[in-house]
Amino acid sequence: MNSDVFEPWEDPQAKPLIQFQNVTKRFGEFTAIDNLSLDIFEREFFALLGPSGCGKTTMMRMLAGFETPTEGHILLGGQDIDPIPPNKRAVNMMFQSYALFPHLSVWENIAFGLRRDNMPKHDLDERVEEMLRLTRLEQFARRKPHQISGGQRQRVALARSLAKAPKLLLLDEPLGALDKKLRQDTQFELMDIQEKTGTTFVIVTHDQEEAMTVASRVAVMDQGQLMQVATPDRIYENPASVYVADFIGDVNIIEGRAAPSGEDTYQIDWAEGQAPLTASSSTGFSNGQSCHLAIRPEKVTISAERPADAVNAVQGKVHDIAYLGNLSTYHVELQNGTIIKAQTANTRRISRRSFTWEDPVWLSWTATAAVLLAH
């Protein structure tokens, strides 16, 4: 294996920093986390991604110590941290609302945690200055939180939670309150700071783009369970289920029945009077097993004529066009009413667009473009 690539999760010898061991958390009747096991490694930027109410915030609050598991254990560096209160954990958290202390200046906010450790004054001053430099807040040190902008507050919150050099930093929807442009800049800043400090980051987010951008690995959650844990590209290209495929990005799902037609190749019967589709899959399907074919819109080619060498080609007419500037998404209605989305880059000016509403078109894709999923 190439040693330059950071992939401790592929290495059976690597010791995880955090281990969730069969953790279950119930609030009364409601099960927030359902028998979940997960390893997170040192220096990882790990994203917990899911819709609201999926349990991702509960996971984070258990790591911080504000909740304790109903069953199972959480280990930090091999030590069971369940009985340790939040103020004794080498874990710091950046809150969604930032939770800056309004009565203290930016400087005092950052120094707050260090003072609790009775750090000598000289070291403390140095550490706070270092944090101010890291987050480019030197000129705002004397201001109160309400005297700075939203983006600056976000950086104060980050500086404060990093000041104690925690083993693990938790970020709860850290960029949720920022507008889109600032959020994108801040994402890169976060990655930069994570690399510089070498801290393990666990981020909670419902924004899949954010998770894909910043994280080394993403865990997609739903109803207290992990749906898939993998690198962003694997989550996108090889989703484990229809749920994951649908949650991350845009996807066409075609339901049908699989019939093996060669090594790792299947014919999928999907509609009356339509030729079967061909897809390759490394996971096995039995003859006649129901399956879902997931195809990303950008992997579907749109053309006026049927491409001569196309493995999969279907005919329809343009139902709708979503113009995004750099990209256009064509919603194509097939004869049986199915809508399939195809995305193309707008390499030409819009006045020279090849297709318009109601045009008859062909959609085609290769055998390896789609992912065959059992559920």
């Binding site: 939040p86 707050f112 609790r116 309400h146 005297q147 600056q152």
Partner: protein, 272 residues
């Protein structure tokens, strides 16, 4: 700016006249030369001078201030603690009962509160004096403090406390270093409320005071029964002045702080 219609002008005048004419009469006659309260005989400040010579009034004033300071401080500590527990500890057995019970003294007739305290003090053999008045005033004003403080705590962002714990505070440190400084304005206004309640209480104080300690309201009330004197008017005018100055200062200070905060926030938004 809109001009007031004649109807609004009349209703405003009548309303304020209703509120303030009695007090204005009292203040005017405190500067009366004559000893007769209802007959004007020229301007004079001599009753204020005589007031300073009246030992009984001065003693009563001193007792009243001491009682008000001690009882409002005690009530603030107890009321804040009660509010904190009721707002923060979530659901525990009997929570609704407890929160209902803390507000009951607000509507309880003072005569009943006073009588029951009197019976208690006699029962445990406590001599009536400053201590018993302080205890009685603490009892009835702590629920006012807890109402004021709990309404602030309900809107308090809990993640501030969690952040303090996360950064290494024990729960007690988190309260002292983060919660208390932030809710301080509510605690102070609770204290001021308890202080004024204690200052003008007559009913409960008359049940729980003894021969050794008389508060100003009791003194005024008993003096008036022998006939209203211009001295009483002077004393009341001083009390009105003290309360007015206090209220105006407090509201100016909070208003200025609010205005400054809003300006800062707007300035911060512009530098985004």
């Amino acid at each position: 700016m809109n001009r007031l219609s004649w109807f609004n002008t009349v209703s405003l005048t009548l309303g304020f006249a209703f509120l303030y004419i009695p007090m204005i009469i009292l203040i005017v006659f405190s500067f009366n030369e004559s000893k007769l309260v209802t007959v004007w005989a020229g301007f004079s400040t001599k009753w204020y001078g005589e007031l300073l010579q009246n030992e009984a009034f001065l003693d009563a004033a001193w007792v009243t201030i001491r009682v008000a300071v001690f009882s409002s401080t005690l009530a603030t500590i107890l009321g804040t603690a009660a509010a904190y527990v009721l707002v923060r500890s979530g659901r525990f057995f009997g929570r609704t009962l407890f929160s209902g019970m803390i507000y009951a003294p607000l509507v309880m007739p003072e005569v009943i509160t006073g009588l029951s305290l009197l019976l208690l003090f006699i029962g445990i053999g406590l001599d009536r004096g400053i201590l018993t008045i302080v205890l009685a005033h603490t009892t009835f004003s702590m629920c006012f403090v807890s109402v004021v403080v709990s309404s602030r705590l309900i809107t308090f962002d809990r993640s501030l406390e969690e952040a303090a714990l996360d950064l290494g505070c024990s729960p007690a440190q988190a309260f002292r270093l983060v919660t208390l400084p932030i809710i301080a304005p509510a605690v102070i206004s609770g204290w001021l409320l308890a202080f004024t309640l204690s200052l003008d209480d007559l009913v409960i104080a008359s049940f729980t005071s003894g021969p050794s300690a008389t508060t100003l309201p009791i003194k005024i009330f008993s003096a008036v029964r022998l006939g209203v004197s211009p001295e009483i008017n002077a004393l009341s005018t001083i009390m009105i002045a003290v309360v007015t100055v206090g209220v105006i200062t407090a509201s100016l200070v909070t208003k200025r702080a609010m205005v400054r905060q809003r300006q800062d926030e707007m300035a911060a938004a512009r530098t985004e």
